[in-house]
Symmetry: C2
Subunit: 579 residues, 2 copies
């Protein structure tokens, strides 16, 4: 999560220039940038395309349709000749098994017709589910003056980690040009990396504009612009990319739509993580300026949007979080407050006879910093009853594994019960490192509706905490997340004096090993060769392998990498494999 600090002097100049422009309302890049090299002169005639980077709700076909029609009207009023919506904008993305429902698909077709009827005085391009001869296509329509002037079915369906489109859709045939008045448009859907054959065909037939409608979830590693720039330059055609925005369950769509001119330079960039209707002249020349990418800031925005939309779209307002005084719960609570407002977050401090005083102080301090309502509950009376029922004594000096599990499950139940009573949702503060190693109790720490930081390695949680402090320092002088929380030795505090480092190596080392194993699929020997202790690697790998049963019942992790636990990771629970 570096901040991309390698900047040439030219780029720095460009950025400075850009900043001076940033207060103007339009996000379109000015033609007046005389100091920047303009590789080709812009055409004299402007062609205004409105990019409708909208946030839809899966299954809310009526609501999505209303939004599409409203944006279409707005685009027309603002003088656009063409308006573009994201992939499957009528149904929302991904509709999952709702696609198996005939009534769902038929409702989508009815609304499709409603949009066609509403389309007057503008050309509209939007995604929908196309039912032809009994099979379904992930399709895009181009419509003008109440007439369908073209339908394109997606031709390369991904067998995706996220969403298996082949489960529902048939692959369409090759791409055709759509004649929209004087403009010849080629349209592709989503995975432009897989659509180059289609693009070649379209270009060979002769197109004036390439449009890509998309629903690509955010991930730290991805960059949609780069490929689009190459394509536009290679085929000398302007490229309009319209992605959806908003969170749908575990997926966050970042928006970040853009326009690339025919020389491969970006001429317009839309908001990240926000809804927007943006007007761009496709004949305007772009700039070679590439904004620096702050991954941690993006992660922060992705997660807060993820939390906000999960609550808004499920009709909940309030979140309940167990506050331990540790890093994970502090960061999770802060993100929740930023997403939902401090009035909607309730902190519950679940202390026991094992909890150190300092942790209680830290827990209260972070609640204070956040300005949230909090309450403290001592878990010991319940833990003691549970321990006795299981045949344990809950003796402070001699806490067994069972008693550690009892403590975390008691905490989870207290949170769930409180949430039930107050129509709230529990947020789990579990991180990816703990999920990977199984360093948590099933029905304990990984309990709740959503796990906002479950796709962040512990080292990334530290970076995020640092980012939050920088962000908040603009408002107050003090560190927002207390230094004592960031600097303390991580501990589950389930037995006296326990430290994570008793069971695990330092998180720097651990996260590296886990990434090599989980993400890069390296084996024990390969990892050991990278100067890690072979026995340690073996131990960690075995922790991952044997804890799969816990991950099978975990709460939804907000996905911010292209390799989050959940659908991206389909490991057997029952297995003889130890590597």
């Amino acid at each position: 999560m570096g901040k991309g600090k390698k900047k040439s002097k030219v780029r720095q100049k460009q950025k400075k220039f850009q900043k001076s422009k940033s207060k103007t309302k339009s996000r379109q890049y000015s033609q007046k940038k005389a100091s920047l090299p303009a590789k080709t002169p812009t055409k004299s005639t402007a062609y205004l395309v409105a990019i409708a980077q909208i946030n839809t709700l899966v299954g809310d076909i009526s609501g999505n349709t209303k939004k599409i029609i409203a944006y279409m009207e707005q685009a027309k009023e603002r003088g656009a000749q063409l308006v573009v919506f994201p992939e499957l904008s009528i149904t929302g993305y991904p509709p999952k098994d709702l696609l198996f429902r005939q009534d769902f698909v038929d409702t989508n077709m009815q609304k499709f017709i409603e949009i066609v009827s509403a389309c007057k005085g503008i050309i509209a391009v939007f995604g929908f589910v196309n039912k032809e001869n009994g099979v379904l296509y992930n399709a895009v329509a181009c419509v003008r003056d109440q007439k369908i002037i073209g339908i394109q079915n997606k031709s390369h369906l991904p067998v995706s980690d996220i969403y298996d489109e082949k489960r529902y859709f048939t692959e369409g045939s090759n791409a055709d040009i759509i004649y929209a008045g004087n403009l010849r448009i080629g349209i592709i859907i989503a995975k432009h990396t897989e659509e180059e054959t289609a693009i070649q065909q379209l270009v060979a037939k002769g197109i004036d504009l390439l449009v890509c409608i998309s629903a690509v979830p955010y991930s730290i590693e991805k960059n949609q612009e780069q490929y689009a720039m190459l394509i536009a330059k290679k085929y000398q055609v302007p490229y309009v990319y319209c992605n959806c925005v908003g969170a749908q369950e575990n997926l966050v769509f970042e928006g970040a739509s853009f326009v690339v001119d025919k020389n491969g330079l970006v001429s317009a960039r839309l908001k990240k993580f926000g809804e927007e209707l943006f007007l761009a002249d496709i004949n305007k020349a772009g700039s070679s300026f590439i904004p620096s990418k702050d991954q941690t800031s993006e992660v922060y925005q992705a997660i807060t949007l993820g939390i906000r939309d999960y609550f808004a779209k499920t009709g909940h307002a309030k979140a309940v979080i167990g506050i331990s005084g540790g890093l994970d719960s502090s960061v999770t609570a802060t993100l929740a407050v930023h997403a939902l407002g401090k009035e909607n977050v309730i902190g519950i401090i679940l202390s026991s006879k094992i909890t150190p005083k300092e942790s209680l102080q830290d827990a209260k301090k972070i609640c204070g910093n956040l300005g949230i309502v909090w309450k403290q509950v001592n878990i010991d009376p319940i833990v003691l009853l549970y321990a006795r029922a299981a045949g344990c004594s809950y003796d402070k000096k001699n806490i067994s594994f069972t008693e550690q599990n009892i403590q975390t499950r008691t905490r989870a139940a207290l949170l769930m019960n409180y949430a039930n009573k107050n129509n709230a949702l529990v947020l789990s503060a579990i991180n990816k490192t703990d999920l990977a190693t199984g360093y948590f109790t099933i029905y304990g720490e990984a309990t709740g509706a959503l796990a906002p930081i479950a796709d962040l390695w512990k080292t990334q949680v530290y970076l995020l905490a640092g980012f939050i402090n920088v962000l908040q320092k603009q408002k107050s002088k003090a560190n927002f997340i207390p230094e004592s929380i960031i600097k303390k030795q991580p501990s589950q505090e389930l037995r006296l004096g326990q430290k994570d480092s008793d069971d695990l190596p330092s998180y720097d080392v651990l996260d590296k090993i886990l990434q090599l194993y989980v993400v890069h699929k390296k084996d024990i020997h390969e990892i050991a060769k990278m100067k890690f202790d072979a026995e340690l690697v073996r131990k960690i790998v075995f922790m991952v392998v044997k804890s799969e049963f816990k991950r099978q019942q975990m709460p939804m992790p907000l996905r911010i990498s292209s390799y989050s636990f959940g659908r991206s990771w389909q490991y057997p629970v029952v297995s003889g494999w130890r590597g």
Copy 2:
């Protein structure tokens, strides 16, 4: 789950005949069935094929290889000329994301070579992961005298509900004949329904034997024989079908391999739900006898095998079950005892001030009938503490939803804690009807490692209880599951006098509506037209839709239908769809 009682007189005769034979060791059908029509005379030369219907463990490449070699030796000793193993027998099925690990695939290739080296004096056909030019195929090898005489890559990869093979494998090219001495063999993998094109090609080239190796999970509805019979007759070629057996996580493989003669008559049937090495003469004529199918008996066998293998393959012996005195826990406990032995099942009776005396009596009675160790824990002291912490009073006469949830979560935690302490696994007694309607508490009833009856509608649980009683009556005169349990009004017993019928229609009606919605994808209007109250249908459908978040974190349901919750059902948690 009818018992297929429509039998013609001819079939009844055949069955009688068959029964008289059933005590002989060989399960091969006798040639002496003079009374049965023999459509073609059998060839004079016998060709003995050994079908090795083995139970593998996913990832246990060494163990699986040892088993393959041992069975190969045994087949040779018993005089077989050819031995056939199931699909992906080296790796076990389904290997899931272990296939993304290079070390895993390479180990599989090493063991492949080991099997080739061990193969002397017999032809062996077995499934493995074939790595060619950097891509993976789901493949079958034919090997003789330490030489590979043919490799066939699976040509039609299913985008399956169970397991998405396209995630890992590339599709192979067309099928080729394998020349094994005088025998020309055509081999296909798994889904013979999708392989007819390959079969046609093979037959056109001329084959003496069609072999299908498979890993098809059990489901109530499926019948692999019927299609094989049609194929064999249509193309006039003997057909050997070798399926694997045993349970792998939520999937149960039934075995039930068979041989069909070239006239489409079954000449050999292997065990259902058991490992077996079976020798069949492929030139022997089959019989038109089709054994009657007792679905409930099959379900019983599938579930007990599922439980047994889950424990054996994860290295656990003991199960903990909460015994309520209701039907679901009684049936689950009985299945567990049949699978694991009574010495390995611990019943915990979790009573509260709301529990009726009759339920306690029934709970103790079923534990007594099963002969299992049981203990009783009163949950009230813990529930009261939880209730107070959440701001409730746990007043017997006025129990809120939150207090109902508290009771079930307390029970779940008591079971989990006890299991932790005793190195046991908790079995959940949740059924499919409750899963579908969300008529359970998250982290409550749906808690545990495995949910054995979670793919049975409540009406099917009743049938299974009846089957168990018939089965056990052979041993004792009394009903095994007490009549009082079967006849009582189902209740969650979370508030005084509660009955399931307060919230739900009768299970007869409910299950029909749920099946129409969940399995057959009918919409509210279509279901209402089938003479169900429209308001009731709407209410039930909404229960299904809004409870998806609970199913996302449920324990593994043992799959016994082709439409179990889990991977077969991918509904959005966050959705605006209400239909």
